[in-house]
């Protein structure tokens, strides 16, 4: 592990400042104990765990049918991802078949979720830099408007707006309702057009560029050593996306591009996510165009919550979430509940890069960098 960089300033006084756990830009409950030398950060002590809910232990007490709805509470901004990771692990260990239509529906849900999650990231990140009483709030409200459109789609699909319970071992719980496809196409067109507007609004703005370019650089080596994933990894020049590297849920059938930037700064991560918006929309359109007919689950009609039993065994399933690799390690003992469950949260690994890149930056950059990492604390603390 690289040593935490400590900058030596001769003689002058230092100030210790608590940022969080209750702070406007803590993105939940994150506490960073900053040591400041004037405006410059010289040391960071990151404290997590304020949102710990014993998620993994909870997973051992709930059956395979019950837990997917709870799994969505790990990363509540992109709930579909965690559900998908859990049911993938169950299907891997239990060797449960998933019908083609269900696989495609899962891809659709995952990509829409990525769009919704990136919308929230764009808004909150700009708010970190531009203030709740400034241009940042404007971008935030715009982005939230688009996220609401996507959540409307999820509401029509599952009846819920935040935590869905869409996936279940063996397939999906719901099929597309009538008229949903048209609504989805319309929303995708909207979002795609407005993404272009936001890009114009931000990238033509020199103040936005000076705040993001060259700020919070994660080098290629550091990214690999820490084990960051998702847009952070691709922003640092490493072409790694599980949808390409280890395709799951028939991702190999879809045409899309994995964006890679080499600069490793906040702007590179921004660019990666902006391209991902477009690529997700592209994949979602492909799903809508060629959705195969057939059953949506290989285990239709769940009669009791203990119905699904998984034979003895263990396995690790991983999916590419909006924030990176979300993995689920499952040990089954033949009963209706897992013996042991372990989550690999993308936010947790990504967040651990902060102590390596924060020393040396100004206080204002701390929030900009943290926003560009896009942590969700439900996933960090679990």
């Amino acid at each position: 592990m690289p040593e935490t960089l400590e900058i030596g300033y001769g003689g002058s006084e230092r100030l210790t400042m608590n940022m969080g756990p209750q702070h406007p830009s803590a993105h939940g409950v994150f506490r960073a104990i900053l040591t400041l030398e004037g405006e410059t950060v010289v040391g960071v002590d990151a404290v997590i765990g304020y949102l710990h809910r014993c998620h993994e232990k909870l997973g051992e007490t709930l059956t395979y049918v019950q837990y997917p709805s709870i799994a969505s509470k790990t990363d509540y901004v992109a709930a579909m991802t965690a559900e998908l990771a859990y049911v993938s692990a169950v299907e891997l260990v239990g060797k449960i078949e998933v019908p083609r239509r269900a696989q495609w529906l899962r891809v659709l849900a995952a990509e829409l979720q990525r769009v919704a999650s990136h919308c929230l990231w764009l808004g909150t990140w700009c708010m970190d830099m531009g203030g709740a009483l400034g241009g940042g709030a404007t971008v935030f409200l715009y982005a939230i408007r688009e996220r609401e459109d996507v959540l409307d789609l999820f509401e029509a699909l599952t009846g819920a707006r935040l935590l869905y319970g869409f996936h279940q071992p063996g397939g999906t719980r719901y099929d597309l309702p009538a008229g949903w496809t048209e609504q989805c196409r319309k929303t995708l067109d909207h979002v795609e057009q407005r993404i272009g507007e936001y890009e114009a609004m931000l990238e033509d703005n020199p103040f936005f560029l000076v705040r993001t370019q060259g700020v919070g650089v994660i080098s290629r080596e550091l990214a690999q050593e820490i084990g960051v994933s998702g847009p952070l990894l691709r922003g640092s020049g490493i072409d790694h996306d599980l949808r390409k590297a280890a395709p799951y849920s028939s991702y190999e059938h879809f045409q899309f591009r994995v964006p890679v930037e080499t600069a490793g700064d906040c702007f590179a991560r921004y660019r990666v996510r902006m391209v991902e918006f477009r690529e997700s929309i592209r994949i979602a359109r492909q799903v809508l165009d060629g959705l195969p007919e057939g059953p949506i689950s290989s285990r239709p009609g769940v009669k009791s919550v203990g119905q699904v039993r998984v034979p003895k065994g263990e396995g690790y399933a991983r999916v590419e979430g909006a924030r990176g690799e979300v993995g689920c390690y499952l040990v089954a003992d033949g009963g209706p509940k897992p013996y042991r469950l372990k989550w690999r949260g993308a936010s947790f690994s990504n967040l651990s890069v902060l102590p390596h890149i924060l020393p040396g930056v100004k206080v204002a950059d701390v929030v900009a960098i943290m926003g560009s990492v896009d942590p969700v604390f439900g996933e960090v603390d679990r």
Partner: protein, 335 residues
């Protein structure tokens, strides 16, 4: 009526008009921002939210006044008043129409600029007295920023002064009478090249002097929560807010006076029409500032200082010199 009583009466009226304006300018800004963000804004108190500022004022009156135990009580309690005072004093020399104002001093512009930079004292007192690290950092930033931006602010403001040949505000306005080619008014903003550049420099410096986004690093709620006023509540908070908006309106009026011809406009021979024109121009400046505020992200403290010392400062000095040479070349007449 004795002259003293007359002055006191006029001062009282102007003060109350300013405070009334401040409360409603907040509503204007909120409505404007709401339109920009595809929202509606305040709506439920009174028709179209027109009574919202009054509701806000009542709410702030009945809030508990909290003083942190570790605060420096004297400094902490005095700071809002020290902050508010220069912010309303700047209206003393503003003539709202010919003969309508508290005092049309022959050093009007100088008085305005000198007094408006005094707000930093109250601001630093608040930041220091709160005994809070966020507030302290914010106060240090404020001193940095306001000292850096007062110089370009003054230099840019002196371009019209040099062109008009007077520091007296009413003289500066009358110097902008008439029109080029019969259509373009001879406002200093339309003065070839120098006028436009000085106007832009003045507006940028205004943004910084008013601590508005993108230069609002001392409020910076995403890192410093609320900056120097993080510990203030109730009426003390209201006083600080009042001072900030009064300062903002004051500088908008100054910009309208220096560059947009003050009260000049069709029918401005009548005092009230002139005052209305002046108000409209000042509100235009205010809305431009608001527009910038709600579209930009905040920049960092080192970048703010770099903009001031490396760009704005040399540019405004060059502009001032150019204006001076121009006036000298024309034998002492700017217009």
């Amino acid at each position: 009526m004795t002259p003293l009583a007359h002055d006191a009466l006029v001062g009282f009226i102007v003060l109350n008009v300013v405070i009334g304006m401040v409360t409603y300018v907040t509503l204007l800004e909120r409505k404007f921002a709401a339109r920009m963000q595809s929202r509606i804004g305040p709506y439920y108190v009174g028709p179209h939210g027109l009574l919202q500022p009054i509701a806000d004022a009542i709410k702030l009156f009945i809030k508990e006044d909290v003083v942190p135990t570790r605060a420096d009580r004297w400094v902490y309690n005095l700071a809002p008043i020290v902050f508010l005072l220069p912010c309303v004093l700047i209206f003393a020399t503003l003539p709202f129409a010919p003969g309508l104002g508290v005092a049309d001093l022959n050093i009007g512009v100088l008085f305005f600029l000198a007094v408006s930079s005094l707000e930093i004292v109250g601001l630093f007192m608040g930041g220091w007295g709160s005994n809070n690290k966020y507030a302290l950092l914010s106060a240090m930033r404020a001193v940095n920023q306001i000292i850096s931006y007062d110089l370009p602010f003054v230099f840019a403001a002196f371009v019209p002064v040099v062109l008009a040949g007077s520091l007296q505000m009413s003289v500066i306005v009358t110097a902008q009478q008439g029109a080029w080619l019969g259509i373009v008014p001879k406002w200093f903003v339309f003065y070839p090249v120098i006028g436009q550049l000085a106007f832009v420099a003045f507006l940028v410096a205004t943004l910084a002097a008013e601590n508005r986004v993108p230069f609002d690093i001392l409020e910076a709620e995403s890192e410093l929560v609320a900056g120097f006023r993080v510990e203030y509540s109730g009426m003390k908070f209201a006083l600080i807010q009042l001072g900030e908006y009064a300062h903002m309106i004051g500088t908008s009026f100054l910009a309208a006076l220096l560059f947009l011809g003050g009260w000049l406009g069709p029918g401005s021979d009548h005092v009230l029409v002139g005052a209305l024109w002046f108000l409209l121009k000042a509100m235009f400046i205010f809305l431009v500032v608001t527009w910038v505020r709600w579209s930009f992200v905040r920049i960092r403290v080192d970048q703010i200082l770099a903009i001031s010392w490396k760009l704005l400062m040399p540019a405004s000095i060059v502009l001032l010199l150019a204006a001076a040479f121009w006036v000298a070349a024309r034998g002492g007449h700017g217009v």
